[in-house]
Amino acid sequence: MATSQIGKVDTVVDAKGQVCPMPIVMLAKAFKDLAVGQILMLLATDAGAKKDVAAWAEKTGNLLLETSEEGGVLAFYLQKV
C-alpha cells in the first residue's frame, strides 16, 4: 500500500487490474455517494489513469490532493468539493 500524508480516507475504490475506462467509471460512481469534504482513495494500474484522473478532477471541480505510485499501483487521493 502506498504511503500518504493524507490522514483519513473515507472511501477506498480498488480499480487495480481494471482497464480504461473502468477506473474513471468506478471513481465517478463512488463520488456520487460521497459527501462534500470527504476523501476517496482510488487504486489503479491502468497506464491511462494518471492523466485521466487529473483531467476528471479538473473537469468536475473536485480536488486531486495527492498521487503516488508504488510497485506499479497508482494511488490517487481525491476530495469532494
Binding site: V19, P21, I24, V25, L27, A28, K29, A55, K59
Partner: protein, 171 residues
C-alpha cells in the same frame, strides 16, 4: 550567371489598425449555446468499433458530458436483443487480427462494450436512439432491441441534437 538576386522592394511596416469595438450582434443572430454533449453516429456493428464507441461514451459521461448515441445500419443490427452475447465480428480490414483481439479481450478481462454503455448510463445522462430507416430495413420494432435503447427517431431529430453538441463522432 543570372546576375544578382533582385532585392524585394522595401515595404514600410504596416500601421496597426485601430481597435474597433465589436459590433453589437442582433439577437436573432446570436449563435445557439453549445450543449455540453457528445453526439455519436454508431454505424458499425463489429466489436472493435462498438468497443471504441462505448469507451468514448463512457469517458464523456464520466467527464460530465451528456451523450447522444444514434444507431444506424449495423449499429442497429448489433443492438438486437441478445445479439451482443454472441457477437464476435471484427472489422473486415482487420479480419486477420480477430483471433488475437478476442483472446486479449478474454485474457485482460476487458469489460464488454454493452457493460461499458450500462456503466455510462449509470454515471451520466446517456441516450441511445435507433434510426427509423434502419429499423424499417431490418423489419425491427423497439421491443426487438436491447432495453438499453431508449427510442426510435429519424435523422432530423438526431441532426438537431448533434447540431447543438460540442462534438460529433462517426464510428
Amino acid at each position: 550567371m543570372f546576375g544578382s538576386t533582385p532585392q524585394p522592394p522595401q515595404i514600410p511596416p504596416a500601421k496597426q489598425p485601430e481597435q474597433l469595438a465589436p459590433l453589437p450582434m442582433p439577437k436573432e443572430m446570436t449563435p445557439p449555446a453549445t450543449a455540453n454533449r457528445m453526439a455519436i453516429v454508431l454505424f458499425s456493428g463489429t466489436i472493435d468499433k462498438l468497443m471504441s464507441a462505448s469507451i468514448m461514451a463512457t469517458g464523456a459521461a464520466a467527464m460530465g458530458m451528456d451523450v447522444e448515441i444514434f444507431l444506424t445500419n449495423w449499429g442497429v443490427w448489433a443492438f438486437r436483443k441478445d445479439d451482443y452475447l454472441t457477437n464476435t465480428r471484427v472489422s473486415a480490414d482487420y479480419a486477420d487480427k480477430r483471433g488475437v483481439l478476442l483472446e486479449q479481450i478474454a485474457a485482460k478481462k476487458v469489460t464488454s462494450w454493452m457493460e461499458n454503455l450500462e456503466g455510462a448510463k449509470e454515471i451520466g445522462s446517456v441516450r441511445i436512439t435507433a434510426c427509423s430507416h434502419s429499423m424499417t430495413l431490418f423489419d425491427l420494432q423497439l421491443s426487438d432491441l436491447e432495453p438499453i435503447v431508449d427510442e426510435v427517431i429519424g435523422v432530423a431529430a438526431f441532426i438537431e441534437r448533434a447540431r447543438e453538441s460540442a462534438m460529433t463522432l462517426y464510428i
